[in-house]
């Protein structure tokens, strides 16, 4: 009996693995292999990003294959995934780092192994390591969201700030943008400022606690991402207030936030173009490997009718423009998604 059970366990593990292996797609030897090491496939933006990346036309026509590797919001996991990508001799790595500083060293390792690394979405501190990188200007997003709230709540508003995971580039830079606007508006008071780690659940709790301390003195909420903006709206509702009376702004353009904008509960969501960042990064990678004969395919580029100048792929840094979504254009954006 004991024997059988031991065997069963081994066999189960083996079979499960074999299923994964032989069920998976086998790469043609000549197609280019790109690995995308993302932050975490538990966050909506990363999933949107990954889905957009997988929809790149160069994958459909067999020019390249893309493997999305999940960093599980853990720097060590991401570091290990770099080892994996190097071992598997990928032709290029696209990287969304969990941490701004801890992300530098794995890139150095990949470069030492001769694999080009491209940034997308969030950045490491030493951007010189990238062959090229494409993101949106987070300082600008911070400015936009602060202005949106102050426009609604007035120049004497008392506001709270919900911060992302401390130390990540998006948090650092969006806060920088917020502070820039606050400096220009000395009448605005910050009642509270704390991290909800990008998380909706944490933001609900944090907002409820803020409201317990300050009640309806809170006249505006600056959320560094949409998950937290949606959480804040929920917290406001739980406290018995009407979310429509408290301006809330967030960044990313996730579905729930757009719906909240449509209902008039969220003043503005600043849409981060996942499509542009993901497909743009793949274009940059393929251009690097293939050379000038490669023509970019993503819709974000000017050569394909978008707003971002391709400039023959020669730049090291590309900024994907933001789209401010308010009640005026939300219907159009929702249809587009």
């Amino acid at each position: 009996m004991k024997t059988t059970r031991r065997f069963l366990m081994g066999a189960a593990a083996g079979l499960a693995l074999a299923g994964m292996v032989f069920g998976g797609s086998s790469a043609d030897a000549k197609t280019l292999k790109i690995a995308a090491i993302v932050q975490s496939l538990n966050t909506e933006y990363n999933v949107l990003w990954a889905d957009a990346a997988k929809a790149h036309p160069a994958l459909a026509d067999g020019t390249a294959t893309l493997t999305v590797l999940d960093g599980r919001q853990d720097v060590l996991t991401q570091s290990n995934l770099f080892d994996t990508a190097i071992t598997e001799k990928y032709d290029a790595i696209i990287f969304i780092p969990v941490d701004i500083d801890a992300g530098n060293e794995p890139i150095e390792r990949a470069k030492a192994a001769g694999i080009p690394v491209f940034g997308s979405n969030t950045m490491v501190s030493n951007t010189a390591l990238y062959d090229a990188y494409i993101n949106s200007n987070d300082v600008e997003a911070g400015e936009m969201l602060a202005k949106a709230v102050i426009d609604k709540a007035g120049p004497q508003a008392k506001v709270v700030i919900l911060e992302g995971m401390l130390g990540q580039s998006a948090q650092v830079q969006r806060l920088e943008g917020i502070q820039k606007v606050l400096k220009e508006n000395p009448g605005v008071t910050i009642l509270e400022q704390n991290t909800a780690n990008w998380s909706r659940a944490e933001a609900i709790t944090l907002m409820e606690n803020f409201l317990t301390s300050h009640g309806d003195a809170i006249q505006g909420v600056l959320a560094e991402n949409d998950e937290m903006a949606v959480g804040a709206i929920e917290g406001i509702r739980n406290h018995g207030l009407d979310p429509k009376t408290v301006p809330v702004a967030g960044v990313d353009g996730i579905k729930d936030a757009l719906e909240a904008v449509k209902r008039g509960e969220q003043s503005m969501s600043i849409l981060q173009d996942a499509n542009g960042q993901a497909q743009g990064a793949i274009d940059l990678a393929l251009h690097k490997i293939v050379g000038d004969s490669y023509k970019p395919r993503a819709a974000v580029w000017d050569v394909n009718g978008g707003k971002l100048a391709w400039n023959d792929g020669k730049d090291q840094h590309y900024y994907v423009p933001w789209l401010a979504v308010t009640s005026e254009n939300v219907d159009k954006v929702l249809v587009g998604n």
């Binding site: 031991r6 065997f7 081994g10 292996v21 496939l41 994996t84 530098n104 060293e105 130390g167």
Partner: protein, 322 residues
């Protein structure tokens, strides 16, 4: 009963397979992965796997001591982060101290927290689950407080060598893990202390009547666990080049899983540290192998979870019969 002291001679084939089932599973997994991914067997990748498992390995060694006494330690992920932050603060910026001082500080912080755990469990009879659950929260809070909630970057090169360096082509974390493992294996197998750990976990009452200071033994295993969690925190920080306040979340699960897959009984007294090593390697190989094949992390979690539950099922059915 399969115990460490049992003689190996005169074993039937069935018994052999029963005892070495975990090793057979390991070999099976190894073969499957080698066939599935051409790069799995490369020296570089095998060294990668060893380096990747070294931190969980160090944690799992400590966890083996704890579980052998029928205890559990849920706080190690937080201890690791706290020790990492303390160590990093000593080697950051221009006036970096000697990295060995940082290692000592990290290990000491871990051991101190472990002593609090052990004291509560051994002398105040707080259930291990509760005491270490409390420490999980306390140490995480202390980490955030100590670091101001921000990562501690710019660590000295000498310190980072502990996570990234090579000696004769072998990664330093692997060497640290090998030393920790060897010492623990010798202690558990050949020392009086080791036999007492087994005795306390197997039957605390008879251990007490035979004159063993059971409270002292229980206290000590949590100090060992804490010190090793501190060491793992230092290794992790050196590897990732900055101390992150949110590091190590969930690491206790992988350490417990490695021990349990290795067949150590959660009810204490039964188990071998050698099999813990096999458990550590199985978990590391699953992650690495599935990553190499590009299998979605969603599946990986399902596979890992299933294997852990299967291992405990086997343990339960065996315990029920014997």
């Amino acid at each position: 009963m399969v115990s460490a002291s049992q003689s190996m001679s005169g074993m039937s084939l069935g018994k052999f397979i029963a005892r070495y089932g975990i090793v057979i599973s390991f070999i099976l997994l190894f073969v499957v992965l080698s066939l599935a991914s051409p790069n799995f067997l490369s020296t570089n990748n095998l060294l990668n796997v060893l380096r990747q498992v070294s931190m969980n390995g160090v944690l799992a060694v400590g966890m083996t001591f704890v579980i052998l006494t029928a205890g559990i330690d849920l706080s190690i992920g937080s201890l690791l982060a706290l020790a990492g932050a303390v160590a990093a603060s000593l080697v950051t910026g221009a006036d970096a101290f000697n990295p060995l001082l940082a290692v000592a500080a990290g290990v000491a912080v871990g051991a101190l927290c472990g002593a609090v755990n052990g004291g509560l469990i051994a002398y105040f009879k707080v259930p291990a689950f509760v005491a270490t659950l409390g420490m999980l929260s306390v140490a995480r809070g202390a980490t955030l407080l100590y670091s101001g909630g921000r990562p501690i970057p710019n660590l000295s090169l000498e310190f980072r060598w502990l996570g990234q360096g090579l000696v004769l082509g072998i990664p330093v974390p692997v060497i640290i893990f090998a030393i920790v493992f060897a010492v623990a294996a010798i202690v558990l197998r050949y020392s009086i202390y080791g036999r007492r750990v087994y005795a306390v976990g197997g039957n605390p009452r008879s251990a007490k009547t035979s004159g063993i200071n059971t409270s002292g033994i229980i206290f000590s295993v949590y100090v060992i666990m804490g010190a090793l969690a501190g060491l793992a925190g230092v290794m992790l920080t050196a590897r990732t080049t900055s101390a992150l306040p949110q590091a190590g979340i969930g690491y206790e699960l992988d350490a417990i899983a490695a021990v349990v897959i290795g067949g150590t009984s959660l009810t204490g007294g039964i188990g071998r540290i050698g099999y813990t090593l096999v458990g550590v390697l199985i978990i590391g190989m699953i992650s690495n192998g599935l990553d190499l094949m590009g299998v979605s992390s969603y599946y990986q979690q399902i596979i890992k979870g299933s294997i852990i539950v299967l291992a405990v099922l086997i343990d339960r059915s065996r315990a029920g019969r014997e």
